[in-house]
């Protein structure tokens, strides 16, 4: 069977199927459509809705967005900091760095606390993963992985394994053993396979399931034992940079943020995108659920952190200052949810009063970008990882030489 021959004036990627081929330039309702011959035939056969084109879809999308904004505005009767006016102002915080963890040879990209509130795992650009004991500063395990830029790491709830992933497009689980002579890298098991870098990973409530986010624009839920994909989440239109699981025991939602400036809330079982928030002006680097589970915060390259309430379905606070011009790369809440710790690319960590919207404190000390801040599970310490190859942890002591 030979294809019909025709005179083609242009050659390029087809607007429908994106394959480069000779294009037939036709006009539908005076709008130029450049499809390859296959797509033109398909269009004719399917009886495509008249006039459906990029422009009309865009128009419909804009009008729906406006309607959504109106619906949300109706419920915006007051701002969070207005409701919080009557609360006492926070006293001076004396959170200071107490220990510096040195050992990585290159930028530390990610860290995570273990549920025992004592151990933490950190990963770096040179392919090393180190498990530390925060009390004694001992390095309990060190794993060298073949790929560089391990962009994310997570501790399993049981404390018996860690997961890590990055530029190798995979997320792997490494069981931790007490035997010092064992080569942990050999026991590494690849669980997640994406088509682009893995930017975030977390275990769900058990060691058996792993949730990952990737530069290919999707998030996915995997079974650790079999490596099977249980659910995938499509909806972002650009790289997904971060995700966080809802805190409750029965929680089956998670939030993700990406380079398309959107933060999406997903239902893990159905794979549906439940809510979507688009108010940042640049890539969202990190998202974190509020301890109550009814809200979340996001940190973005637009130098602001924002607080979104899930029940009101809108942003209720913005944490920004004219003097802060560098992007924020990470956020975490204190135990009560009163403080928001945000790490910035200007090497500082700003501590925001969540309710009043003001800055409570600044933590200095790192000599390069802060890549991750995490409050320990019992809320006593804050650990920060940075591109200056170190991790620092800080606490607030009551009786000490200040």
């Amino acid at each position: 069977m030979c294809d019909q021959t025709f005179v083609a004036a242009t050659f390029g990627p087809c607007e429908n199927c994106s394959t480069p081929s000779p294009l037939i330039n036709i006009y539908i309702k005076s709008e130029p459509i450049n499809y390859c011959s296959l797509c033109v035939e398909m269009m004719a056969c399917q009886g495509l809705q008249k006039g459906e084109s990029l422009v009309s879809l865009k128009r419909e999308s804009e009008s729906l967005k406006k309607k959504l904004e109106e619906e949300r505005k109706k419920l915006c009767d007051v701002e969070l900091n207005q409701v919080a006016e009557k609360i006492e102002v926070l006293g001076a915080l004396s959170i200071k760095t107490r220990r510096v963890l040195k050992g990585h040879g290159n930028k530390v990209l990610c860290m995570d606390w273990c549920k025992d509130k004592r151990r933490l795992v950190s990963s770096s650009q040179d392919g090393k993963l180190i498990v530390w004991d925060a009390f004694t500063l001992n390095k309990e395990h060190g794993v060298s992985l073949p790929c560089t830029w391990i962009m994310t790491c997570a501790y399993a709830p049981s404390g018996c394994a860690v997961a890590c992933g990055g530029l190798d497009n995979k997320c792997s689980v490494i069981p931790l053993s007490m035997d010092r002579n064992e080569n942990l890298a050999a026991k590494k098991k690849s669980v997640a396979m994406h088509t682009n870098y893995v930017s975030g990973c977390t275990f769900t409530n058990s060691d058996m399931q792993l949730l990952t986010s990737s530069g290919d624009g999707t998030c996915a839920l995997w079974d650790v034992e079999s490596g099977q994909l249980l659910q995938s989440f499509h909806g972002h239109t650009a790289d997904v940079l971060s995700l966080d699981l809802a805190p409750s025991e029965t929680g089956n939602t998670f939030v993700s943020g990406g380079c398309d400036m959107k933060a999406n809330v997903w239902d893990m079982r159905s794979g549906q995108n439940i809510q979507s928030f688009e108010s940042h002006e640049s890539d969202i680097n990190c998202v974190k659920y509020y301890p109550s589970g009814d809200a979340f915060a996001s940190a973005s390259d637009d130098a602001t952190c924002r607080f979104y309430d899930l029940r009101a379905d809108r942003e209720v606070a913005v944490y920004q200052k004219d003097s802060i011009v560098f992007g924020a790369s990470t956020v975490d809440f204190s135990l009560s949810g009163r403080l928001l710790f945000a790490g910035y690319n200007d090497y500082t960590i700003n501590v925001w009063d969540v309710l009043k919207g003001t800055r409570a404190s600044i933590l200095f000390g790192h000599e390069n970008r802060v890549s991750r801040v995490r409050v320990s599970p019992d809320g006593t310490a804050l650990c920060s990882a940075s591109w200056d190859n170190t991790l620092r942890w800080a606490t607030d002591f009551v009786t000490e030489n200040k």
Binding site: S53, N273, R314, S336, N401
Partner: protein, 70 residues
């Protein structure tokens, strides 16, 4: 994957999502904020990073006799 989709498919996806979202149930901000505030006030007295941790209970204390240069 998003980067394999044409602009039209991306817009269609966004459109479907928006159609779903317009009808989600929402509650007024004032009520939610009041909830958030009471949640925080309930937990604040026990927040170690705000209240501080006394020396005796502090597991991170480390050896005495050191000098902390701040």
């Amino acid at each position: 994957m998003a980067r394999d989709m044409s602009d039209k498919e991306i817009l269609k996806m966004e459109l479907d999502q928006l159609k779903k979202e317009v009808s989600t149930p929402r509650t007024p901000v004032a009520a939610n904020c009041a909830d958030t505030i009471s949640f925080v006030e309930g937990l604040m007295p026990n927040d170690p990073l705000i209240k501080g941790v006394p020396d005796e209970k502090n597991p991170y204390k480390g050896d005495k006799g050191g000098c902390v240069v701040t």
